[in-house]
């Protein structure tokens, strides 16, 4: 089970945080600080896996964003790399050539996509096409209800 998923920039600014366990705000902040520091000092070609406390940290850098998650001991790290890649592909498909700004200005969309892909720390849908379709349908539902004609942003 994945314990948390963090997206942060190269300067350490948090762009997305998803927690799959109940933690106090202070604990969350501490974990973010520690993990961010640990990952940001890693040289470019290094191994993508780290051991931290009792968790395995898997991270990967895509352009200016670090995608980082904390796993339990029984989880497969290589598969998690694939999972992170799948999430990036989903974002790319939705936003069309996604970049960090898309995620900054449409953060709620990034969350919605994540919620269609992962629930409770586990993958819920292994087919890329299905996730994309569900997002489309949910968005269209919103448009109908809100009667927006333009892009469904807030």
């Amino acid at each position: 089970m994945m314990r948390f998923l963090l997206l942060f920039s190269r300067q350490g600014k948090l762009r997305l945080q998803k927690w799959f366990t109940a933690l106090s705000d202070r604990d969350k902040k501490k974990i973010i600080r520690d993990v961010t520091q640990m990952v940001l000092v890693r040289p470019p070609k290094s191994c993508n896996f780290l051991q931290w406390r009792d968790l395995k940290i898997v991270y990967r850098r895509y352009a200016s964003l670090y995608f980082c998650c904390g796993l339990e001991q029984g989880d497969n790290e290589l598969l998690t790399l694939e999972l992170l890649h799948r999430y990036v592909e989903l974002l790319d498909q939705y936003f069309g050539n996604v970049c960090e700004l898309d995620i900054i200005f449409n953060f709620e969309k990034a969350y919605f996509i994540l919620d269609e892909f992962i629930i409770g720390g586990e993958v819920q849908e292994t087919s890329k096409a299905s996730v994309a379709k569900s997002m489309e349908e949910a968005d269209s539902l919103q448009e109908t209800m809100e009667e927006y004609v333009n892009k469904p942003t807030y």
Binding site: Q17, W19, S46, N48, L79, E82, F107, E122, T153, Y154
Partner: protein, 792 residues
């Protein structure tokens, strides 16, 4: 009131803030707006405001005033408002907040909503932040959704059920029947969720595990279908058909096949097929292979399969991708104990990984290398490890050093090699070794008596070169103090001879004493060493006196005390000085953790096939881990001599005294049997059983000659499986004419209940003549076999 700014506009404004203060100001204004918005009530703008608040929350600012708004939005009939409301609930509300219970009812209603997207929002939120109470309330709803709904909802409901089980383990029975039927689904999402659910159920409950073992053939079928299926674009990742599902099924098979032969047999073929057919050129394939290897190693697989698995790991080790090398070493670490030989074959590659740039890889390689050290490869491995120690990153140094020490202790081919290795480590990484290294090394040096000359020369040279490494300096000072005479002699077979004068040696010690790099403990070592040299050198005794007297007024209490006492040795007790500063006897190796006075005496374990004679008395005193403490004892009290002195020094374990007390409580009704009578010396023994396996034997010696017997000592030996513990004797002088006796108590522990035999050697002087004799006691008094009548 200013018109509400749209979310993206607000984000732009915040990002354009140039300083932290400016940003804070903007955020404060926005939060005030948002709060006003919330107070206004429903006007279609609430979702905008909440979204803005969530952004502010992500930046790290407090946002708790939005919690009630989340609750309200979730209850709204509009989908867009529900969506943001649920998102807010997942971000701001967790089970620690009281407000979270308020949304339980909304979730319940939404779970039966007509729109599947509303249902999915509710399921997702419950699975993310559902507390135990909420889970209990809604479990039956979830179970209903598991059975009768479309696959879109089913897959979410399955994972929600997983979350419920994690929170409330008692509900496993509720979900077990539905989980079984879910395995026949075709939809990969539902199938994946079902496998996760079954895994969770099996991990929690061993009965459920037995139940699901029957599902192994079905799982094998599904897996086979995935592996052999033709290209399916929907689930394909780099040529592997749905690696996510494959890995989860393999993980479940691992749990089901663990320690179970029938299940393991059923999956043998499948695992072989997956292991051979999966293409591992991309990460997805490697992930599946990795999981397969883990599964093979964990179930009762046949040996051919295990060999295949280790070979796969070996192939991974040679892969260019660092990640794959890392996980292969992690897996090898798990199996290095059980399949040691198989892993040994890859030792070369693993040692090469020590030179990798990456710290994670280095760490794994280090752990694995240390596990692979054996008697056969110790020399070459140690060379590599020492090279690694000199270049390794600081966070790995102490682990490397202690690993090297352990390996050297277990497998060193010769004492000299061992000492050399330890010296090498101390010079390279002296600051990172553990505290007990110093006494361990000193103890090792004392046992290698033929190497004293070599050792002291090497240490002297190291000391002269560099005095920054404290453990090295401490050991060097101790050795120079102890073996200074050997150093000054100059010649040594194994090292090039260098003439060392007394002044050189004293200069070196003085440098240590005066340097600001030296710690107080090291100064203590140096001072004592200087003192000891006073008996080993001839010319510069005055210089030593002056050094010692300077420290008589030192601020450090320990040093001052030592210096004052040594001064006293010079002045008042000069006649004792030679005896006090004599060379130390060979120290006995103690298990780690023993300190002076900790354990009541020491249990000697015979290590040869013949019973070994055991030294009685003071030598039993647990070799103190701080040897200069012994020095201090030797300096201030009765001299420390190899032969046991009857009056133990006060520090000779007070607990030994306690045991003497216990030992002294001999039940008087037990008869004593005479075992030895010769030349007027008679020896009697008395036994009584303390427990089923423990016997206390009291030896009493009496003297019927005209003269006192002096320097009386007893040594005892017992068969291999019996443990022997000798207490201090009551004295070593036996008065003449039977006027007095000497008693000594021996504790025997006989766990294997072998027949008790004991060989006793007596040694004594009588009228100036030294006598020695041996007594064999083959049968103990029958009272030993009877339960003791203890006064207690």
């Amino acid at each position: 009131m200013s018109p509400s700014v749209r979310l993206q506009e607000m984000i732009r404004v915040i990002r354009s803030a140039r300083t932290q203060g400016e940003e804070r100001g903007i955020i404060q204004r926005e939060c005030a707006d948002i709060r006003a918005q919330f107070r206004q009530g429903d006007n279609g703008e609430r979702s905008h405001s909440l979204a803005k608040l969530l952004y502010v929350h992500m930046l790290g600012y407090p946002a708790h005033f939005g919690q009630m708004e989340c609750v309200r939005l979730i209850a709204s009939p509009r989908y867009s408002e529900k969506r943001v409301g649920y998102l807010g609930a997942m971000m701001l509300l967790d089970e620690k907040q009281d407000a979270s219970l308020l949304i339980t009812n909304s979730i319940k209603n939404d779970l039966s909503h007509s729109s599947q997207f509303v249902q999915s929002l509710a399921l997702c939120t419950l699975a993310c932040m559902g507390s135990a109470e909420m889970c209990r309330d809604l479990a039956t709803e979830i179970e209903r959704l598991l059975r009768a709904s479309q696959s879109y909802i089913k897959k979410k409901a399955t994972l929600c059920a997983v979350h419920i089980i994690r929170k409330v383990p008692e509900l496993t029975e509720l979900f077990t029947p539905s989980a079984r039927t879910l395995l026949s689904e075709k939809n990969h999402g539902v199938l994946h969720g079902a496998v996760v659910l079954i895994t969770e159920l099996c991990e929690r409950n061993p009965d459920t595990l037995d139940q699901f073992r029957k599902a192994v053939p079905e799982l094998v079928q599904i897996m086979k279908g995935l592996v052999t299926s033709s290209y399916s674009p929907e689930h394909n990742v780099a040529g592997i058909s749905d690696p996510f599902l494959q890995v989860r099924i393999l993980r479940l098979l691992r749990i089901l096949g663990h320690k179970n032969d029938t299940a393991s047999d059923a999956m043998n073929d499948l695992l072989a097929q997956v292991a051979t057919n999966t293409d591992s050129s991309k990460t997805a394939g490697s992930a599946v292979l990795y999981e397969t290897v883990l599964t093979i190693m964990d179930i009762n697989s046949e040996s051919g399969l295990r060999v295949l698995a280790v070979n796969i790991l070996g192939r991974f080790l040679l892969n260019n991708d660092r990640n794959i090398r890392y996980i292969s070493m992690t897996s090898l670490q798990k199996i290095v104990q059980t399949d040691h030989n198989a892993v040994q074959r890859h030792r070369g590659t693993i040692v090469d990984c020590l030179k990798d740039q990456d710290t994670s890889v280095k760490r794994r390689a280090l752990e694995l290398s240390l596990a692979l050290v054996s008697a056969v490869n110790i020399r070459s491995m140690m060379k590599e490890l020492l090279i690694f120690l000199s270049v390794c990153p600081p966070e790995l140094r102490s682990q490397t050093a202690s690993g090297i020490f352990n390996a050297a202790e277990r497998y060193s081919p010769s004492k000299r090699w061992h000492i050399d290795t330890i010296l090498h480590v101390l010079t390279t990484a002296g600051g990172d070794v553990r505290d007990e290294t110093v006494p361990n090394l000193i103890q090792l040096i004392t046992t290698a008596s033929e190497l004293h000359c070599y050792t002291v020369h090497k240490l002297y040279r190291a000391l002269v070169k560099d005095i920054a490494q404290q453990p090295l300096v401490q050991v060097a000072c101790w050795c120079i103090g102890e073996y200074g005479d050997l150093l000054l002699k100059g010649e040594c077979e194994e090292i090039e001879p260098v003439q060392v004068t007394e002044d050189d040696v004293l200069d070196a010690l003085e440098t240590v004493l005066q340097s600001h790099m030296t710690s107080p403990a090291t100064r203590g070592f140096a001072l004592t060493a200087t003192m000891k040299l006073s008996t080993r050198i001839t010319d510069n005794v005055d210089r030593i006196r002056s050094i010692v007297s300077i420290y008589g007024s030192c601020i450090d209490l320990e040093l001052q005390q030592r210096a004052v006492e040594y001064n006293a040795l010079f002045k008042k007790y000069d006649h004792m000085r030679a005896a006090v500063l004599e060379r130390m006897p060979v120290m006995d190796k103690n298990s780690p953790g023993h300190t002076n006075g900790d354990t009541p005496g020491e249990i000697k374990e015979p290590d040869t096939s013949k019973p070994k004679p055991v030294e009685a008395g003071l030598l039993i005193e647990p070799a103190s881990q701080v040897c200069d403490l012994l020095d201090l004892l030797g300096g201030t009290d009765t001299p420390l001599q190899p032969s046991p002195a009857p009056t133990s020094t006060p520090t000779a374990t007070s607990s030994a005294d306690l045991l003497d007390l216990l030992g002294g409580l001999e039940p008087t009704p037990v008869p004593s049997v005479s075992v030895y009578e010769k030349n007027g010396l008679s020896l009697k023994i008395q036994c009584d059983k303390q427990t089923e396996t423990e016997v206390t034997v009291t030896l009493t010696a009496s003297n019927s000659t005209q003269n006192d017997i002096t320097n009386f000592t007893l040594q005892a030996a017992v068969p291999k499986s019996v443990q022997l513990q000798m207490k201090a004797p009551s004295g070593n002088v036996i008065p003449a004419h039977g006027l007095g006796q000497v008693t000594q108590t021996v504790l025997l522990n006989n766990p294997n209940k072998v027949s008790l035999k004991m060989r006793v050697r007596v040694a004594y002087s009588n009228q100036g003549a030294i006598h020695q004799d041996t007594v064999q006691i083959d049968s103990f008094p029958s009272a030993a076999c009877q339960p003791s009548v203890s006064p207690l």
